[in-house]
Symmetry: C2
Subunit: 284 residues, 2 copies
């Protein structure tokens, strides 16, 4: 299945989950149904399909991980956090609805993610419990990562701290996106699980290092947000500490290592490899 | 078991859940381990004990519901929300750690609640899925209720909207606290479940109407926060619309009706009735 099909699929599911009347409905829909890249749901669907899992079982995982991602963007953009006014080529949530309502929309989306994740009775209860634990751990790590990010603005930091922060802030949820899809296969072997853990940790970290690079090299219109926002905020990044060339080498070799990892899987990994290559060559 | 024993029990469990090193650890512990009343965990333990559930099974539910409650207090106190500077007789979280880190501590606590809730392997997976759905629905309703609350500042509203808001903002989580404890009994009858649903909805609503009254009648020191904060913010409340006497009658009759409800339970409801009477006579 093509990435566009996956994107359309998750968009339809997200729309359905946000169809009920709610005080926060317009607010949540504004951010959730904006033109996000949907890389996380696409990872979930692809990991599920590699293991022959029916996509109707993967829908709840794909939506849940995207809902967590969108809530984190709403909160990260707030004036007290990264203070970004644009997201997905439209005003940030708080610019449209005010800071208080933006905080609440994010809060509600996190709760909704756990509701959606557990609301598929065709998935065994044991599996759903495992999925909740994966997602809650990733969401927790994400908040920790953002906390570190906030605390190091205008500071000189060691590259090791940046590695650790990127793993938590962005890596944990991307890793979770892959693992949720794969864990839907109830008898996933220990070997395949270990391979996917290494693979998904690698691409999660690579993705954020690449984000640091793209923030320098890509225009506002293509990013859908402000270019050079890290430098403008005096945030330490991979390019600011190691330079652009070295940073590009790092994320490329992480993606390449991830592709090597999955060549050991017990199933045909072609679609997961193809997606990883697409991520490596993304420009926004 | 006495309320103080339940309080000590949940405090010990919460402390243990926040013992791991984390960027947000000091921040989360500051609010979670402050001198909260722990009414929600006490409700959970009491409901569980009425049905003969071992308290070791109720710990995860008691903690999860309190973690959601504390996260909501941190976010509600923010300048863009209720802008309260004191909570539990100490500076509000954002006064101590800054707005950005306070938002993140709340976010992390919500994620932690779902982790804690599912991290007890002695509870059947089917039951844990039910618990997650109850808690996620309550947490979602709570955010909706706060959204309505923010939106009606300085407005004239009908009492029906206030009923609906109180049910969501405060009632849903108090109801959830009771239901989580009771649902730990795997073969809870439909009749008992329906009775508890009505009971917990009643005390949830009563509790918030009573909060409106106490905000007018109780001093800062006893409340642990500012007296008259609702009136100072020009928030419509039960006393501002219906007057103090009528508001007191409403919450008292809601508590009395709740006590009638549970007299129909198939088990000895004495401890739940005793707790309800304690809630009715609380002064903070």
């Amino acid at each position: 299945m093509s990435l566009n099909n996956y994107r359309a699929r998750v968009n339809g599911c997200l729309d359905a989950h946000l169809s009920q009347s709610s005080a926060l409905n317009e607010n949540m829909r504004y951010s959730v149904l904006a033109s996000g890249k949907r890389f996380r749901p696409i990872l979930t669907y692809t990991a599920a399909s590699v293991f022959g899992v029916d996509l109707s079982q993967a829908d709840s995982c794909a939506c849940a991980v995207e809902l967590i991602h969108i809530y984190s963007l709403i909160h990260d953009d707030l004036p007290a956090m990264d203070d970004d006014d644009m997201r997905h080529n439209q005003p940030a949530n708080h610019m449209k609805f005010g800071v208080g309502q933006a905080i609440l929309a994010g809060d509600a989306l996190q709760a909704l993610a756990f509701d959606v994740l557990t609301n598929n009775d065709t998935i065994k209860a044991e599996t759903r419990v495992t999925l909740v634990r994966q997602l809650s751990n990733a969401a927790f790590a994400m908040a920790e990562g953002q906390s570190i990010d906030l605390s190091i603005v205008s500071k000189n930091v060691e590259i090791d701290l940046l590695y650790s922060m990127h793993r938590k802030k962005t890596g944990a949820l991307l890793q979770c996106a892959v693992m949720l899809g794969a864990l839907l296969k109830p008898d996933l072997s220990h070997e395949d699980r270990a391979i996917l853990t290494s693979f998904s940790e690698g691409i999660g970290l690579a993705y954020q290092v690449q984000d640091d690079v793209l923030d320098v090299s890509t225009s506002d219109a293509v990013l859908g947000k402000r270019q050079n926002s890290d430098a403008d905020k005096d945030k330490p990044t991979f390019p600011s500490i190691l330079g652009m060339d070295e940073s590009i080498k790092i994320y490329q070799s992480l993606y390449e290592k991830a592709c090597e990892d999955i060549s050991q899987l017990s199933v045909d990994e072609a679609s997961l490899r193809g997606l990883t290559e697409k991520l490596m060559s993304r420009t926004y």
